[in-house]
């Protein structure tokens, strides 16, 4: 079901992403790098752990996939390769963060998502997987998108 190829971006979505890209190039969020490619619909963003946090000097990669009717609908955001060890980040890269799902608003941007994710990393006090990591990852084996998960959000503090 989720393996079907994504629909192309709508005119509104493409227009909006061009503007976001321009804004990003002029004013990138601190700690992030995005290599501009000709693929507007998938951004790979480099994340650098903030100084004086558990993730200092560590580098991770976010994969941001935009749906046809972005920004009305949230992008899918996951960590690729080796996701950071964090109580809200699963070993398959899925992130438990309300703004990526139920609390998404078209008022947000890739940049504001990145800032929220970095803040989530920076406030962590332990490097550990979520307690239900194994069960969750097993359930996602058929390539399920995190947007199909019905999330039960952990507390806001971490």
């Amino acid at each position: 079901m989720s393996s079907s190829s994504p629909k192309g971006l709508s005119r509104i979505a493409a227009n909006r992403l061009h503007k976001e890209l321009k804004e990003w190039q002029m004013n990138p969020p601190a700690g992030f790098k995005h290599k501009v490619s000709d693929n507007l619909q998938r951004w790979i963003v480099e994340v650098n752990g903030a100084p004086n946090t558990l993730y200092e000097n560590e580098t991770y990669y976010l994969q941001v996939d935009f749906p046809e009717n972005y920004p009305m609908e949230a992008p899918q955001v996951i960590f690729t390769h080796n996701p950071p060890l964090h109580p809200h980040i699963y070993s398959n890269g899925h992130i438990c963060l309300d703004i990526l799902y139920d609390s998404w608003s078209p008022a947000m941007t890739v940049s504001s998502i990145c800032i929220s994710i970095l803040s989530m990393l920076s406030s962590s006090t332990e490097k550990a997987r979520p307690v239900d990591n194994d069960r969750y990852v097993r359930n996602c084996r058929n390539g399920k998108s995190p947007k199909e998960t019905r999330w039960w959000f952990h507390d806001d503090k971490v």
């Binding site: 509104i12 227009n15 909006r16 503007k19 976001e20 804004e23 920004p71 009305m72 309300d98 703004i99 139920d102 609390s103 998404w104 608003s105 078209p106 008022a107 947000m108 941007t109 019905r150």
Partner: protein, 278 residues
């Protein structure tokens, strides 16, 4: 086996809720964003074999109001109803001065959003969806039929709803001291949290905080007529309560408009439809 025999295949609570939401979403999608104008009797028919208080109140409602227009119950109904009702009124009264006045309000809202730190590109397309309609009223290119069509077009309607969500959130945050007691009192959330979780995402329902903020932001008087099962003094004298959200009532800088409400909405718990005076 860890399933209790007497429960059989009973679904878990979260599965029941998921199904409930799925059914509600499915039902909602059968209805267009904005329905056709219907006589008030269609509302009475809905309660024919139901609550006696509702029936009496609808009878009372019929003394002042003659028709209604239903909206889709998808959590955005207040904003969609406001969009249609306001623009329809503007069209019918050919009130170009009001269209100009509200455009000035839109400009002020835009400045507030910029002052609050929003990049213009995040809201300019949504803003244009609304001002396009106002332009249409001013230059006469927007017909009543076209307004219905635009209001049923997902892209246009969602865009305008999102613009209203932006300026509602902007007004609340700009006047956080004023709104804070209402927000903390009813939701326990901070102003920022409330805007983030209950105003800015699509599909989040509106209450008196949203209505006050939108009315103030655009300077538009909104009347909400409440249809619920409360029976006032015991049932003999059932009045239908209404509340006027008067823009500027709480803001010094705006002149108080003493005019008839241009937007009249019928509120039933959890839902807003559009009402028409006789």
């Amino acid at each position: 086996m860890d399933t209790m025999p007497d429960l059989g295949d009973r679904p878990r609570d979260d599965e029941i809720m998921a199904q409930h939401y799925a059914i509600r979403a499915e039902e909602a999608e059968k209805m267009s964003f904005i329905g056709d104008k219907e006589p008030l009797s269609s509302l009475a028919a809905e309660y024919e074999s139901g609550n006696a208080i509702f029936k009496k109140k609808i009878e009372k409602l019929g003394e002042t109001y003659g028709a209604l227009r239903r909206t889709r119950g998808d959590g955005n109904c207040f904003f969609r109803a406001f969009m249609f009702s306001y623009l329809e009124n503007l069209l019918e009264t050919r009130n170009e001065a009001e269209a100009g006045r509200v455009k000035d309000s839109v400009d002020k809202c835009k400045q507030s959003l910029l002052d609050l730190g929003h990049s213009e590109f995040t809201f300019e397309d949504f803003l244009a969806s609304f001002t396009d309609q106002l332009d249409g009223v001013q230059d006469g290119s927007l017909s009543a039929d076209q307004l219905v069509e635009n209001s049923r077009d997902q892209s246009i309607s969602d865009s305008v709803v999102m613009f209203f969500r932006f300026i509602t959130s902007g007004e609340i945050r700009k006047r956080a001291d004023f709104f804070e007691p209402f927000i903390v009192g009813t939701s326990g959330l901070s102003v920022q949290q409330f805007c983030r979780s209950s105003v800015e995402p699509m599909g989040e329902e509106s209450d008196h905080v949203h209505i006050t903020a939108l009315s103030d932001a655009l300077g538009v008087l909104i009347r909400i007529v409440y249809l619920d099962s409360s029976n006032g003094d015991g049932g003999n004298n059932l009045d239908v309560n209404f509340h006027d959200f008067i823009p500027g009532q709480c803001v010094q800088e705006q002149p108080i408009l003493k005019s008839k409400p241009s937007v009249v909405l019928l509120y039933r718990p959890g839902h807003y439809d559009i009402l028409y005076e006789k």
